[in-house]
Symmetry: D2
Subunit: 90 residues, 4 copies
Amino acid sequence: MSSYAVVKDDILLRLRKIEGQVKGLQRMVEENKYCVDVLVQIAAARAALKTVGTMIIEQHVRGCVRNAIAREKGDEIIDELIDVLNRFMA
Amino acid sequence: MSSYAVVKDDILLRLRKIEGQVKGLQRMVEENKYCVDVLVQIAAARAALKTVGTMIIEQHVRGCVRNAIAREKGDEIIDELIDVLNRFMA
Amino acid sequence: MSSYAVVKDDILLRLRKIEGQVKGLQRMVEENKYCVDVLVQIAAARAALKTVGTMIIEQHVRGCVRNAIAREKGDEIIDELIDVLNRFMA
Amino acid sequence: MSSYAVVKDDILLRLRKIEGQVKGLQRMVEENKYCVDVLVQIAAARAALKTVGTMIIEQHVRGCVRNAIAREKGDEIIDELIDVLNRFMA
């Protein structure tokens, strides 16, 4: 079950843009572009991935987590949420 | 000038793998995979980009920054380094 | 309403230890200790604060957020949660 | 050897303010303040520590690292810098 249906198109657009950024990074490295220019692009791609992650976390809490709690089945899904938040804060 | 020549092949390999991860993410979202599974993959791609960034930062300091300082032209490159480190720590 | 009652003593112990770390940092800086040694201590204090934050986030979701959702009053508290998660991921 | 002498007073002022924030956090937890209010304060203290860290990293690169490289003793100090940057990006 995915809760991100409402923002699915936006997320796919962002992921395609991120794919473009990663391809651009490969070109930059192949052409021996200046380190700092490569690093700025890497930071941009990471920030874009973080935005997508935050969007999905939000929808997950509003959807899956809320539904599980409403059905009194929140324990497991909250454990899982805490675990995935820790991965994102790393 | 790029200082990462010594690790260029390794970096390109990693970037291609990251491109694959981002394509995989698009497939997962298209197929409405479970939010947490998508999030775990996003966290993995972000971590992989961070590793590439750290590799380039390291080579940049050992190469470009070291050379600039040795030629007594360190000021500007150090400003630039601090700025890019801030982007990475964001 | 605070949800962290079950871990309150543990959190207070950790915060007192963090206070000690911050005082230790002041001493180190007053005594002109080596930059990297100061930086290692700063990173340790930040990591300790992050652990406390994660503990409180976990209890908040299990307590306040779960209760609000169970009472069908989840919207506002989820907005607030997403906002505070963003601050932590910064 | 510490390179942060030029910003030492500023750093000490910031560390004293952070000590105050951590003491404030203890009071908040003792008084069972609302989770999200505690979390906002934790995020603020972490951000303040990050600022101090960035200030010291900057001075360290401008001072210790630059001097070591100028004396052709850069290898070890660069290893150490990369290691401490990794701790900060964690």
